[in-house]
């Protein structure tokens, strides 16, 4: 995650913080620490799952690019944005 921190340039949630989240198959997320709930879209669900399991930004981006059939650079920048977004909420 530190690697993400420097590349994404903002607050990034730790793997421990992410692992606290209760995530349903349909993309419903509950954060027991704050009581806040969220919805995540299908691509977000995949990335969140990978990050919780400790994937690096590159692994998560490659995997997403593969699942959706899109170029890795696009996946990579959108995964960075997603991680920063997580950082804002968690």
């Amino acid at each position: 995650m530190e690697e993400l921190m420097s590349r994404a340039g903002g607050k990034v949630p730790t793997r421990e913080r992410l692992s606290q989240l209760a995530v349903s198959e349909t993309g419903f997320i509950f954060d027991p620490q704050t009581g806040q709930s969220f919805s995540v879209n299908p691509t977000g669900l995949i990335v969140l799952d990978l990050l919780k399991r400790g994937s690096t930004l590159d692994v998560a981006s490659n995997s997403l690019a593969d699942r959706c059939g899109i170029p890795t650079e696009i996946a990579s920048s959108s995964v960075e944005a997603f991680i920063l977004q997580l950082g804002r909420y968690l």
Binding site: S39, N41, T43, L48
Partner: protein, 479 residues
């Protein structure tokens, strides 16, 4: 996971916090697919290929069906009834002529609308001339041609009288009335007020004039009226007034015109429930109106007088669902608050009614991906150019099409010539054939009315001096 796994629809990963009060009554349940690939039986792709985007599509069959059903509802209950087509609701020539072919008169409210009805070939005795601004030249024409003039205020009454005298005629006039039904905000700015005595005073003046003859009463209690009892009350008050006039003065009222205002199947932004649940059927309106009218005119039957002719001027209820607007997505965005947004090639410049309705929005191909809250923007450089502030839609991409409906009322008249060209309006004929009924604008249309004074004929008149400046700067740079 192997390569055979079905590819996921690409959308940037996104997380959205739930805010209290924002979850609708359907929870996050995936809404059913509401796409439709055709409008009024014609393929959207085919329409766009032939006529371009954006595109207004009008259904002749729907207009005729709506009008027939509405007239039948009144005729069954009351007998003789005339529909006055409210030109301002949609005055595209083909639309007006469909109405006229169905027997509707023209209800016009300005010199332009009067001239348009006559240009289309509407006989003057089938023109109802309403509105607060009737300049002398058009009153002269209406009097000479024998149109049915509805008087809005005292100055106008005097003007009509003087024109009638000049032309040495006795002009039949209809008084526009306003009063409080207790159901709607009274539109007291139009016509003569009953409660204050203005209406009685106007009737007296007509009675005293040897050039005027009071033949009818008119009122329009408002628009998008969701309560049929408002009309029952309107008719009761008008009949009471008619009876007073007929017993005090030597009048014989042959026309009761109840105006328009029946709601269409559209969703007002201020109304929580969907139109299916709040908009009364035509039969409910007709029931309320005709019951009150038969009651209020019973005195005439007792003395062997004919019943007055009933005129109604329904606009939106006849045309709204007979037109849809096809638009194209030109780009998509993610807003800072997490919502999806799309920019369309049509905005409030074309869909003026988006300011007060939540129109239905349909995609034109089966949806893929998660349905989510989406904002739809028009193409204008104005913050208020929003087609829908919040609508549940699947992810959109550039080039996707969205169909807005119903849009038939007040858009082809109130649309703005602002920034963009106005697009084609087409009609789906009863045969299924399609044709343009209003051509899209182009540069020549946009510049046609401009006039350039001599000294402004060139944008950069001093081109010689200009060249010198440009050359000078070139040299300066070289040195």
């Amino acid at each position: 996971m192997n390569n055979e796994t079905k590819k996921l629809v690409w959308e940037p990963p996104f997380i959205q916090p739930h805010r209290m009060g924002e979850i609708n009554k359907f929870g996050r349940a995936r809404l059913h697919d509401n796409s439709k690939s055709s409008v009024y039986g014609v393929s959207v792709i085919e329409l766009l290929r032939r006529f371009g985007s954006p595109l207004f599509v009008t259904s002749e069959k729907q207009i005729r069906t709506n009008l027939r059903n509405t007239k039948k509802a009144f005729e069954r209950r009351y007998g003789s009834v005339v529909h006055g087509w409210s030109y301002k609701t949609n005055y595209i020539s083909a639309v007006c002529n469909i109405m006229h072919q169905e027997g509707s008169w023209a209800e016009v409210v300005s010199a332009f609308e009067y001239e348009k009805a006559r240009a289309l070939g509407v006989p003057s005795n089938r023109i109802i001339f309403n509105g607060p601004n009737k300049p002398k030249f058009i009153i002269e024409r209406a009097v000479a041609e024998g149109a049915q003039i509805h008087v809005d205020h005292l100055d106008e009454l005097q003007l009509i009288e003087s024109v009638a005298r000049e032309q040495d005629k006795v002009v039949p006039v209809v008084l526009r009335l306003n009063f409080d039904t207790g159901y709607t905000e009274p539109w007291s700015r139009f016509g003569f007020n009953i409660e204050s005595g203005q209406a009685h005073q106007a009737a007296k003046m007509i009675a005293l004039s040897s050039h005027l003859n009071l033949t009818g009463l008119h009122s329009h209690i408002g628009t998008f009226i969701l309560e049929p009892r408002a009309y029952a009350e309107q008719v009761r008050i008008m009949c009471k007034f008619m009876r007073e006039l007929e017993s005090n003065e030597d009048f014989c009222i042959d026309t009761i015109d109840i105006g328009g205002g029946f709601a269409s199947q559209n969703a007002l932004q201020s109304v929580y429930l969907p139109p299916e649940q709040v908009v009364p059927s035509i039969n409910e309106y007709a029931d309320a109106i005709c019951t009150a009218l038969l009651e209020g005119t019973q005195y005439r039957r007792q003395i062997g007088r004919e019943l007055p002719r009933l005129i109604f001027e329904s606009g939106r209820a006849i045309i709204d669902d007979a037109q849809s607007l096809i638009t194209t997505v030109v780009g998509t965005k993610r807003l800072l608050d997490g919502r999806r947004a799309a920019i369309l090639d049509a905005g409030t410049n074309l869909l003026f009614t988006a300011y007060w309705y939540n129109h239905q929005v349909h995609t034109t191909k089966p949806s893929e991906g998660t349905i989510a809250d989406t904002v739809l923007y028009g193409p204008l450089c104005m913050n208020i150019d929003v087609m829908r502030h919040s609508v549940q839609l699947p992810p959109l991409s550039q080039g996707d099409n969205l169909v807005f409906s119903p849009v038939g009322a007040y858009n082809n008249t109130q649309w703005m010539q602002f920034i963009e060209y106005r697009p084609n309006v087409v009609l789906v004929h009863e045969s299924g054939e399609c044709s343009v009924i209003r051509m899209c604008e182009d540069l020549s249309v946009m510049m046609q009315q401009d006039r350039l004074p001599e000294h402004l004929s060139m944008p950069f008149p001093d081109t010689v001096a200009m060249n010198r400046v440009l050359n000078g700067s070139t040299i300066a740079r070289r040195s």
